[in-house]
């Protein structure tokens, strides 16, 4: 009867090593926050936390439980100087020297196993166009790109976040396979941060949402489509073809060939059905799928092959969030997510699609020890006419749970019970609920635990 009452284990953040996945228990809401973003770190992802540009400080987030704390140590700055091409020289400011250095820092762990594509140009021949010297623009070019500076100001990013990092967030792995110049690791972290904030917002605002609706809502807030729309509303445009001469203010990734079937790349559940992997049920989606309950695409090929525009855009947004996190701290990142992602408009009442609402409501009333729900006619008109209207209310005892109007009694009953179920699922403790991460602010009010529901109704 009660589903996952003891512990519902599900995952937010991609099903990848460094994603935040948390346990939702009824003990305390704060506990899941602490477990929330404590990812297990793999080597390539350390490149992001390790970078420091000359002149811009790295501020480790105050009291962070995340990986950044221990990743900040053991980083060293390894400048790489590369002779720049003529075009690059022409766009340099007069101050710019004849030799340009592209500063990147890398963790000591990476030093030996990482190959610089400059040292042997054949390494990145997959993505780099032969006529452009490097796969992505140099970091110096970021300082002279008006587009990039305007984007930085438009998003009102903190001054601590340098333009070089912004330029790096715009380089997709499919454009520059070198981990220290693309936004793969940034996007990794940013996705976890965004999904964490969205999840705690949804769980505190609507504590009774069933898993399917929770998946749908989080997909509506920070799914790839939404993030792509957000990036386009920021005024970010895509480069036609990545290269070092491209304006650093453009999103760079290698686009799909026209006529490619998205189903081959996209994470649609149906093609897994075609492959015979037949999984259904929320538990498998919770455990095996990504934060939106969708299939994670099998790694066909490596990261560097072409990808749809939507994915590149969403990676860019995630990378921006994580770069704010890395440079300006946790509060800035939270504020950014609040303003750009959580402030958007979603009709959460329209996410539901019930199968057997009447029975489900009966089960609910039984579970909650309410009286058996009875459908009663509140008012009606034209019962014998061509277009009658019945207004039916579902009553449990003397209390009306839901109400619906329809041209037939059965439909009206269905509508009424759907309304009652929605009213149950969309219970919200208040307009301005506090989320656990509010406790990280300066001298917060004492935390009162949020309402944790015992789970959705199954029968």
């Amino acid at each position: 009867m009660i589903h996952h009452s003891s512990e519902t284990y599900y995952r937010l953040g991609k099903n990848l090593p460094s994603s935040g996945n948390f346990v939702r228990t009824s003990l305390s809401a704060l506990s899941f926050h602490i477990i929330a973003v404590s990812p297990t770190i793999t080597i390539p992802n350390t490149a992001v936390f390790a970078f420091q540009f000359d002149g811009c400080e790295y501020q480790p987030p105050a009291g962070d439980q995340t990986c950044l704390g221990y990743l900040a140590c053991g980083q060293l700055l390894s400048p790489r100087t590369r002779p720049c091409c003529l075009w690059q020289q022409t766009i340099q400011s007069p101050a710019g020297g004849t030799q340009q250095s592209r500063f990147q820092s890398s963790s000591a762990a990476m030093e030996e196993n990482l190959v610089f594509e400059d040292d042997d140009p054949s390494a990145s021949s997959t993505s780099r166009h032969p006529s452009s010297p490097y796969a992505s623009p140099l970091t110096e070019a970021a300082l002279h790109s008006a587009k990039l500076a305007a984007l930085h100001a438009r998003l009102a990013l903190p001054k601590k976040l340098p333009l070089q990092t912004m330029a790096r967030t715009l380089v997709d792995p499919s454009a520059d396979p070198n981990l220290r110049f693309n936004n793969a690791s940034l996007a990794q972290l940013g996705g976890s941060i965004i999904s964490f904030h969205v999840a705690e917002f949804l769980l505190c605002k609507y504590p009774r949402l069933p898993m399917a609706i929770l998946f749908a809502a989080s997909g509506a807030y920070n799914g790839p489509r939404t993030l792509a729309i957000i990036a386009q509303e920021w005024g970010v445009e895509t480069a036609a073809y990545p290269g070092s001469e491209v304006d650093p203010g453009l999103l760079q990734f290698s686009k799909l060939k026209p006529g490619t079937n998205l189903g081959e790349i996209g994470m649609a559940r149906k093609n897994t059905i075609d492959q015979g992997v037949w999984r259904r049920g929320m538990s498998s989606r919770v455990v095996l799928d990504d934060e939106f309950g969708d299939m994670i695409p099998q790694r066909r090929g490596i990261e560097v092959d072409a990808k749809p525009t939507e994915t590149a855009y969403s990676n860019f947004v995630k990378a921006v969030v994580s770069s704010i996190y890395v440079h300006a701290g946790r509060d800035a990142a939270k504020k950014f997510v609040k303003e750009h992602i959580l402030s958007r408009h979603l009709e959460i009442t329209q996410l539901f699609d019930f199968k057997t609402p009447v029975q489900e409501l009966a089960v609910l009333c039984k579970r909650e020890e309410f009286e058996y729900p009875v459908a009663r006619i509140l008012s009606e008109t034209g019962r014998l006419s061509r277009s009658p209207v019945f207004v039916v209310g579902i009553y449990s005892g003397h209390e009306k749970l839901g109400e619906g109007a329809a041209p037939s009694l059965a439909e009206a009953r269905i509508r009424a019970s759907v309304a009652a179920l929605k009213a149950w699922y969309l219970y919200s403790p208040g307009n301005n609920v506090r989320v656990p991460s509010d406790m990280e602010g300066a001298n917060p009010k004492p935390w009162e635990p949020v309402h944790i529901d015992i789970g959705e109704i199954i029968h």
Binding site: S93, Y241, G243, L250
Partner: protein
């Protein structure tokens, strides 16, 4: 102008007669015309010898008397230029005197014999020796400013520096700074003189190349050095006088040639050359021959720009000397507000006016430093747009592998896209 023409017309009537009457051999024809037209003396003279003017005759005929009433010469007042009345009064007075004289007994002219030659006769008129003074080839006019104006900013700076050094040198030896430009500007001795501003004016650190004495000596004109020595007998002047016997600064000599070409190497301008025209054996440039004016200006301690020009005497002298050295005219509007040398220099050396807007914008540092502004020197062509989104390399590759021209005109594809 109009009056002259009318005059011409009024003259024309009388021309033949007037020209016939009093020919003055010393006048050109134009002058003759003027003379005749304006003077009525001839008419009066004619009346003296019994000739009555035509109008008078007519009036006498009309009135039948010898003294006809009314306006004599009724047409006289028509002319604006008619001064016959005044003249007439004057003439009448003269007539009376003449009559008085005639009334006197005339002296006898027995002892008078006309001169046969012009010896002893006094000469009247002529130009004196004006022609000699002005049009002689050996007295050439030389203005105060040199003919060639110095354009190069470093050179102008050097000239200002020199003027300051010389003025303060004069001030040191106590000579009045106003006769700074008494001497024709010779070779510049002051290249290595460092100036440091003080409360009162400035102090000069002379090098061994150019000592105070040499500077002063280069400033004093050769003609009146005795007088200067007389009037202020400083020992410096004495030993200047002493070595003046040995070295003549104004005497050109052999090393000038190589100095010249170093000067050519350094900064070839006419002024430099005519400075080089009178080089002396004491060559201050010999050490710094390889030095261009730019390096020279850079070699000076910039504090010399802070020298105050409050003292009007100093200021006048510096401005005068600078004008003499450079040939630039400094208007009062620039002289008045210039409180320090810097201000004066700011007027002397101006950045050239930019021809294009891009140059003007790129001179504005703060505009160029705004991160969200991008300024292009050339028109942003479609090719530039393709390049900025990275499509151009693909287009180029495709075109080349099809063997098509990349741009309409071959080989100029690189000429596009020079940004900033």
């Amino acid at each position: 102008m109009r009056r002259i023409t009318r005059l011409g017309r009024s003259i024309d009537l009388l021309r033949a007669r007037a020209a016939a009457q009093t020919p003055s051999p010393y006048l050109c024809s134009a002058c003759q015309l003027q003379a005749t037209s304006f003077s009525t003396t001839s008419i009066r003279a004619a009346r003296n010898n019994g000739k009555v003017p035509f109008t008078e005759k007519i009036r006498q005929r009309i009135w039948g008397t010898d003294k006809p009433p009314g306006l004599e010469d009724p047409y006289g007042d028509r002319s604006v230029f008619d001064r016959t009345k005044k003249r007439a009064k004057v003439e009448e007075a003269e007539e009376r005197e003449d009559q008085l004289e005639e009334a006197k007994p005339t002296p006898d002219l027995s002892t008078y014999e006309p001169a046969s030659t012009w010896d002893g006769l006094e000469k009247v008129g002529g130009f004196g020796n004006w022609w000699k003074e002005n049009w002689d080839p050996d007295h050439q006019f030389r203005g105060f400013l040199p003919a060639e104006v110095i354009k190069d900013s470093d050179e102008v700076t050097a000239a200002l520096h020199r003027a300051i050094v010389e003025v303060f040198a004069l001030q040191q030896v106590g000579m009045p700074p106003k006769d700074i430009s008494a001497a024709i500007p010779g070779v510049d001795l002051t290249h290595e003189v460092q100036i440091s501003p003080t409360a009162t004016g400035a102090t000069l650190q002379f090098s061994q190349k150019a000592s105070l004495e040499q500077v002063i000596q280069s400033l004093t004109p050769a003609v009146d050095d005795e007088t200067t020595v007389k009037e202020n007998p400083t020992e410096s002047e004495e030993d200047v006088a002493a070595d003046r016997s040995t070295i003549d600064p104004l005497h050109p000599s052999s090393p000038e040639v190589e100095v010249d070409e170093t000067a050519e190497k350094g900064n070839p301008t006419e002024s430099e050359e005519d400075v080089a025209a009178d080089r002396s054996t004491v060559d201050p440039l010999s050490g710094s021959t390889q030095m261009t004016y730019g390096e020279l200006v850079a070699s000076w301690d910039p504090s010399w720009l802070q020298i105050s020009l409050e003292n009007p005497e100093i200021k006048f002298a510096i401005v005068k000397r600078t004008m003499q050295l450079t040939g630039l005219r400094i208007p009062d509007a620039a002289i008045m507000p210039a409180k320090t040398v810097k201000g004066l220099l700011a007027h002397l050396v101006k950045p050239p006016k930019p021809r294009k807007l891009v140059d003007a914008l790129q001179q504005k540092e703060e505009l160029m430093n705004i991160p969200n502004v991008s300024i292009y020197a050339k028109r942003v062509t479609p090719i530039d747009k393709h390049k900025s989104v990275g499509r151009w390399k693909v287009i180029e590759q495709r075109l080349t592998e099809r063997g098509l021209p990349v741009t309409g005109h071959e080989g100029q594809s690189h000429a596009y896209g020079d940004y900033r």
